[in-house]
C-alpha cells in the first residue's frame, strides 16, 4: 500500500498545488472573520475529495491493470484511497483547528471557544468523510466519468444538509451543544459508513475486469 500512497502523493503535489495554496490561505482566513463556517468547510471538504481526483488520474493513465500486475493486492489498491482520504482530511482538520486557535490568540488577541471550534471542525470533517464514502464505491462501479453524476448529486446533498444546519456553520464563536452532539453523531456515523463503503468498493473492485 505504501507504493500506492507514494504514487498518489506524488501526483497530488504535482497537480494540486492550487489546492495546497487554497488550504494554506483559507484555513487561517476563517480565523480573521466572524463567520468561519465556509473557511472551515472548504479546505476540509477538498481534502476528502482528493482520493476521487486521484482516481481520475489513474483512469487516464490506465494505471489499474498495471497496478494489479505489481506485488499489490486489489485490497491495497482500494484501501489506499480511503487511507489517503482519511489522512488528508485529518491533517487539514488539525491545520484548520491550529490556524483558527493561534491566529485569534496571537494576532487578534481574542478568545476562542476551543470545544466549539473543535466540534464544528470535527463535524465538517465527518461530513467530508461521508461524502468520500458515498462517492468512492460509485467511482469504482461506474468509472470517474459516469461517477461524476453521483459526485454532483452528493455534493448538492451535502450543501442541502449544511443549509439545514445553519446554526452549525455559524456557531464557531459560541458553544452550541447541538454542534457538539451533532459532530459526535456524525463522527460515529462516519466510522461504520467508511468501513461499509470500503467493503463495498472492495467487493466491486474484486469483480471488476481490468482488461489490458
Amino acid at each position: 500500500m505504501k507504493a500506492l500512497l507514494i504514487k498518489d502523493w506524488k501526483i497530488l503535489i504535482r497537480c494540486l498545488k492550487l489546492y495546497f495554496f487554497i488550504l494554506l490561505c483559507y484555513a487561517p482566513l476563517g480565523a480573521l472573520g466572524k463567520d468561519i463556517g465556509f473557511a472551515q468547510i472548504f479546505p476540509i471538504f477538498l481534502g476528502a475529495v482528493l482520493p476521487v481526483s486521484t482516481l481520475g488520474y489513474d483512469e487516464r493513465a490506465h494505471w489499474d491493470p498495471y497496478a494489479v500486475t505489481l506485488p499489490l493486492s486489489r485490497k491495497d489498491i482500494v484501501l489506499s484511497k480511503y487511507v489517503m482520504g482519511l489522512a488528508i482530511t485529518a491533517a487539514v482538520a488539525i491545520y484548520t483547528l491550529a490556524a483558527n486557535l493561534l491566529i485569534p490568540a496571537v494576532i487578534l488577541r481574542t478568545a476562542v471557544s476551543v470545544p466549539a471550534l473543535a466540534a464544528s471542525i470535527l463535524l465538517f470533517a465527518a461530513i467530508a468523510i461521508i461524502f468520500m464514502d458515498i462517492n468512492l464505491p460509485f467511482m469504482y462501479l461506474l468509472g470517474t466519468e459516469k461517477g461524476r453524476l453521483v459526485y454532483m448529486a452528493s455534493l448538492v446533498l451535502v450543501i442541502v444538509i449544511s443549509g439545514l444546519l445553519p446554526e452549525i456553520s455559524h456557531s464557531a464563536l459560541g458553544l452550541s451543544l447541538d454542534t457538539a452532539r451533532l459532530s459526535l453523531a456524525m463522527t460515529a456515523a462516519a466510522i461504520p459508513l467508511t468501513a461499509g463503503s470500503a467493503a463495498l468498493s472492495l467487493c466491486i473492485y474484486r469483480k471488476k475486469e481490468l482488461a489490458a
Binding site: 505504501k2 507504493a3 507514494i6 504514487k7 506524488k10 501526483i11 504535482r14 497537480c15 488520474y57 489513474d58 487516464r60 493513465a61 490506465h62 494505471w63 491493470p65 498495471y66 497496478a67 494489479v68 500486475t69 505489481l70 506485488p71 499489490l72 493486492s73 469483480k207 475486469e209 481490468l210 482488461a211 489490458a212
Partner: protein, 283 residues
C-alpha cells in the same frame, strides 16, 4: 520446467469468445503470440495476469497454479509491459523509482537508474514529455529492475520505430541468456518475433491455430506460386491458405506434402499470419 502453462483457457463475451487456449512456454525460451487485431491476444494476457476472470481452464506461472489469483511473491517474479506506459504523465523517472521501490521487495534502484541512463531517460523530466519509445523503454526498465523470471509483454514494440525496436530486442535477448528466464510476447510485428522467438503461437478469432517451434514452422511452411490449372495436382491437405488471382494461385503450403518439382519460396511469419487468417477465408 515450463515458465507458463495454459490449459483450455476460455472466456466468453457477448461478441467474442476465447476458446480453449492451451500452450506451454518452456524456461529459457521466448514465445511470440501473434494474431490480427481483435484476435484475442490481449484477452489471453489479461487472463494470464488475472486482470479478468476466466470462465474455465487453468494457468500455471513458474510452476504455480493461479486459479486463486497471482500470489504476491509470484508477482515479484513477473515483469509486465502493457501496450502503453501506465504511469501518470505528471510523474518523473525518479518518482517511478520511489513507487516501484515501495512496491517490490526485490526492486533494484541501481539497475533501474542504470537502464534509465542507458535508454537516455531524463530522471527529472515528466513522463508526458517522453516520446512513445521512451515511455515503452521506461516500462521495460521497470520490468527488468526487479527479480523477474518471466516477462509478459503485450504489444510492447508496436508503434515504435525500427531503431528503438531493435534496441529493445537486444535487451530481451540479453534477458533470455539466463535459462531461468522466459518471455511471452504478443505482437503483430512479426519481423521482431522472427528475430527473437523460439516458439510461435498464432491466435485467430479466439482460437489458437498453432503453437510450435519457430524454426520447424518456418522450415515446414513455404509459399507456392503456380498457375490455377495445375493447382489441382496439389494435395489439398498441403494447402494451409491460398489466394487465387486471375494469374494463378498463391498458397501457403506444407513443403513436405507437395509433389517434387514445385518451386517454393520462403514463408515469413507475416506470410503465415496473412495466409492462415485471410487465406483461410478464401478456401
Amino acid at each position: 520446467m515450463n515458465a507458463l502453462e495454459i490449459e483450455n483457457l476460455t472466456k466468453h463475451y457477448p461478441s467474442f469468445s476465447l476458446n480453449h487456449i492451451s500452450l506451454n512456454l518452456p524456461m529459457g525460451c521466448v514465445m511470440g503470440f501473434i494474431g490480427e487485431n481483435g484476435a484475442g491476444k490481449s484477452t489471453t494476457i489479461s487472463l494470464i495476469l488475472d486482470l479478468i476472470r476466466r470462465d474455465s481452464g487453468s494457468v500455471r506461472i513458474l510452476g504455480q497454479d493461479t486459479s486463486r489469483g497471482l500470489a504476491l511473491p509470484l508477482k515479484e517474479q513477473i515483469g509486465v509491459v502493457l501496450d502503453e506506459c501506465c504511469f501518470s504523465e505528471v510523474l518523473t523517472l525518479e518518482d517511478v523509482d520511489a513507487i516501484m521501490n515501495a512496491a517490490y521487495r526485490t526492486w533494484s534502484s541501481q539497475q533501474f537508474r542504470r537502464l534509465g541512463k542507458e535508454f537516455g531517460l531524463d530522471p527529472k523530466k515528466r513522463i508526458k514529455n517522453y516520446s512513445r519509445g521512451m515511455k515503452m523503454k521506461l516500462s521495460i526498465a521497470c520490468a527488468l529492475s526487479h527479480d523477474s523470471r518471466l516477462l509478459i509483454l503485450d504489444e510492447a514494440t508496436s508503434g515504435l520505430d525500427p531503431v528503438v525496436r531493435d534496441e529493445l530486442l537486444d535487451l530481451f535477448y540479453e534477458f533470455i541468456q539466463d535459462e531461468e528466464h522466459a518471455i511471452f510476447m504478443s505482437s503483430h510485428i512479426t519481423g521482431d518475433l522472427e528475430k527473437i522467438c523460439d516458439y510461435i503461437a498464432l491466435i485467430h478469432q479466439g482460437n489458437l491455430l498453432f503453437c510450435e517451434e519457430k524454426d520447424s514452422l518456418l522450415d515446414r511452411m513455404a509459399i507456392l506460386k503456380c498457375p490455377a490449372a495445375i493447382a489441382s495436382e496439389i494435395d489439398p491437405a498441403a494447402i494451409c491458405g491460398k489466394r487465387v488471382t486471375p494469374f494463378g494461385m498463391e498458397a501457403l503450403v506444407n513443403r513436405f506434402l507437395i509433389p517434387q518439382g514445385f518451386a517454393t519460396e520462403h514463408a515469413s511469419l507475416d506470410d503465415i499470419l496473412v495466409y492462415l487468417v485471410k487465406g483461410g477465408k478464401d478456401k
